[in-house]
């Protein structure tokens, strides 16, 4: 009897410890670091983005991720438009399906700085997209601790998204899309969704059954996922998921932001203090619960088929 009680206690304690990995304090640390004025708006090719990359690398190191394809760096370096650019990639190898990959991504670049004016000149990009990178880092730590990923997980911070999805485009050319089971991209999860607290929306909802898998997994939780309400904004094509989706990968973007009402979008006022840490943290937890069956190999979302004449911008 006592043994049973101890076992129950142990189970309770350990599951509690797991769920506590993702919390507002951790999220705040990532957010305030990445959106700090020192990072000067993280423009691709700038000194500021170098600092951001270093922070992401140091976190991947601390969490204990492996490097991609046995490179000696977390950076995937390349040049484009006369700039030297780098995605930052950390790997958590799958336990039984190591050659099946799930990508968890967010872009870490932003717009840099304004010139020739007084006042606040820095585009901190706290919501866009320090919030998404915070999610990638928190999920990496969560899955490393949980040790339940039957499939391999690639945690990717994409560069030069704001210049036209350059980082994710390059990444897409380096992989075999057939080995990529799903793309979980995260953008702007720092403001409460138009559907209320504890809700998010997913771009390209009806292009694969990815979204319905997430909804099913969230059924027991008090969080819900809705189809992207801003269809006219064509957001499915405007974030890094598009670079993978065009290769057939069911790759979608999670977001919470009220795009039609967000006065800080692409403004210098996009700072950590305008964000809702509860929304960020709850959304990351929901992504962990929602994508679990894909990560542990039980569900495989249907592939995306693009129409031939479908534009990508």
């Amino acid at each position: 009897m006592i043994k049973k009680l101890l076992l129950i206690l142990l189970v309770c304690f350990s599951s509690k410890a797991h769920s506590q990995i993702i919390n507002e304090k951790l999220v705040e640390k990532h957010l305030t670091t990445l959106a700090d004025d020192q990072m000067e708006g993280r423009k691709a090719g700038s000194q500021g983005i170098e600092m951001a990359a270093k922070y992401i690398e140091s976190e991947f190191e601390r969490i204990g991720l492996d490097k991609f394809e046995s490179q000696n760096s977390f950076r995937q370096s390349f040049s484009s438009k006369d700039m030297s650019l780098f995605n930052v990639i950390g790997v958590l190898e799958g336990k039984s399906k190591a050659d099946e990959y799930v990508i968890i991504s967010a872009h870490y670049d932003h717009l840099g700085m304004k010139t020739g004016e007084k006042g606040d000149l820095i585009f901190n990009g706290a919501n866009d997209n320090a919030s998404g990178v915070s999610a990638v880092l928190a999920l990496a730590e969560h899955y490393k601790t949980q040790n339940i990923n039957e499939r391999s997980l690639l945690f990717v911070a994409f560069t030069a998204e704001e210049m036209g999805l350059i980082g994710s485009n390059y990444f897409g050319k380096q992989i075999n899309p057939e080995n990529i089971i799903a793309g979980i991209n995260i953008e702007m999860i720092g403001k409460e969704s138009p559907f209320g607290p504890k809700t998010a929306w997913l771009t390209g909802f009806d292009r694969s059954d990815f979204g319905q898998i997430i909804q099913k997994n969230l059924e027991e939780s008090d969080y819900s996922l809705y189809p992207d309400p801003y269809v006219n904004f064509r957001l499915f094509f405007r974030s890094d998921n598009a670079s993978l989706a065009r290769l057939g990968v069911p790759a979608h973007t999670f977001s919470t932001s009220p795009m039609d009402k967000d006065l800080d979008y692409h403004k210098v006022s996009d700072e950590t203090k305008t964000l809702d840490l509860f929304t960020v943290s709850e959304t990351i937890k929901a992504i962990a619960i929602g994508t679990l069956s894909i990560v542990n190999g039980n569900d495989t979302p249907s592939r995306i088929v693009m129409k031939k004449d479908e534009p990508f911008k």
């Binding site: 319905q212 909804q215 309400p229 039609d260």
Partner: protein, 159 residues
């Protein structure tokens, strides 16, 4: 003196009646807005009319074997279906009557309807709404509907 008193009483009664009517109009407006969102596949408009955290959707019907069925539908499933509807599907829910009752922050609306698909009559029934008035006005908390094809007394024989 008595006359003046009754005068005031009567004015008060009229005022009350008037504000009740204004509230009823407001409730009807929220329900109509819900259907604007429904017809235009605009999930944001729909979301703005419901009390999102607790919003419940249920449907009552009779199965082929005659059994009564109560089926809850998660809000996200409702929006999935709505947004995935082809743009030429042409669903039209015609609201044919409103009976609204209000007590304080609670309202009940009994709204009869006809459902038409591509100009053809599909079914009729009643939408029963419960609304709550919080800081941001009346919001729909529950929607339970009935669906039937008999005794529909079509108000609009043509589309």
């Amino acid at each position: 003196m008595k006359k003046i008193f009754f005068c005031f009483m009567f004015l008060g009664f009229l005022f009350n009646l008037n504000s009740q009517n204004l509230e009823k109009e407001e409730v009807q407006r929220v329900i109509e807005k819900f259907f604007i969102g429904f017809h235009e596949k605009d999930s944001l408009t729909i979301a703005s009319t419901v009390y999102s955290i607790d919003f419940k959707l249920l449907s009552t019907s009779t199965a082929q074997d005659g059994k009564a069925v109560l089926s809850p539908m998660p809000f996200y499933s409702f929006l999935n279906v709505l947004l995935q509807r082809p743009s030429d599907a042409n669903w039209k829910e015609k609201l044919t009557g409103f009976e609204i009752k209000i007590d304080g922050k609670l309202a009940n609306a009994w709204v009869s309807y006809e459902f038409w698909v591509k100009g053809n009559f599909s079914h009729c029934g009643v939408n029963s709404f419960n609304l709550f008035k919080g800081d941001d006005g009346w919001k729909i908390v529950t929607l339970i509907d009935s669906r039937r094809i008999e005794n529909c007394n079509l108000n609009s024989l043509t589309n």
